[in-house]
């Protein structure tokens, strides 16, 4: 009796093959994965464009003259005018650039993880690192948003903006935790994958 099942299955065609998407189960047109792939691609391109424009604006902000330009901070309870200093402009633009840049990096990792899925090897050890990276970036970005909002509420627009509480940090912490738990799950998956690779 021959044991054809023992023969290790040939590695699925890599990303170099243009038809690789159609060859993988569950990735046909109209499937959840193909919709996800399109969404990831579109979001990544958009974020890359936005980040690029913001970086250019940030560079331009160093040079443009800012005489007699004011920003109005207004809320329900009234508003007040602030002179637009270069520091303020750079802080604002820098914060927004970092925000979009962070999400662009997250999407870049997500797309790479997704690519390993399409070639049929989602538990690649690299994915553990990518997921941890995503968790870290998410923590930095969401923590940064919280810190920036606290700063604006306390210094730039006191009385206009509600001060940030610890409660607003709960959702970011929760999402970061989910990503790190997933990374641990993938670590175990990668270990099992290695184990099965070395089972003859």
């Amino acid at each position: 009796m021959r044991l054809p099942t023992l023969r290790s299955t040939p590695k699925p065609a890599g990303a170099h093959n243009p038809d690789f998407l159609s060859s993988v189960r569950g990735l046909g047109p109209g499937s959840v994965s193909s919709v996800l792939k399109i969404a990831l691609d579109v979001a990544y391109v958009l974020l890359a464009l936005i980040t690029g424009v913001l970086v250019l604006l940030l560079i331009a902000a160093v040079f443009i003259p800012l005489d007699n330009v004011n920003v109005t901070v207004s809320g329900d309870s009234g508003g007040r005018q602030l002179p637009l200093t270069r520091m303020l402009l750079l802080f604002g633009l820098g914060a927004v650039t970092a925000y979009f840049g962070g999400f662009m990096l997250i999407l870049r990792s997500l797309r790479r993880i997704f690519r390993t899925l399409t070639i049929g090897d989602p538990f690649h050890p690299q994915n553990v690192r990518r997921l941890r990276q995503i968790g870290l970036i998410l923590a930095v970005v969401t923590g940064g948003v919280w810190a920036a909002q606290s700063f604006v509420a306390a210094r730039l627009a006191p009385g206009v903006m509600e001060p940030q509480g610890i409660g607003e940090l709960l959702t970011p912490i929760f999402s970061v935790l989910i990503v790190f738990v997933l990374a641990e799950v993938f670590r175990e998956g990668a270990r099992l994958r290695r184990e099965s690779e070395l089972t003859i």
């Binding site: 021959r2 044991l3 023992l6 023969r7 290790s8 290695r194 070395l198 089972t199 003859i200």
Partner: protein
Amino acid sequence: MAIRVQLDRVLVERRMSLTELADRVGVTVANLSILKTGKARAVRFSTLDALCRELECQPGDLLVHEPGPAEAFDDDAE
């Protein structure tokens, strides 16, 4: 690992090449050489069965236990 695979010795005794054995057993040469060089973590009974049948030997002819320092079971080391 305290378990050593003596595939090369048995192959020499049977005057069989690794490629020929791979062909007969239905395992790729790459996987068989992982087994031969002792990098394998586990052997399926079905593989062992096919190896013993083709080499006309017992599992004990292929595997030897050499007592040594205990090794962590779930080490991630390469």
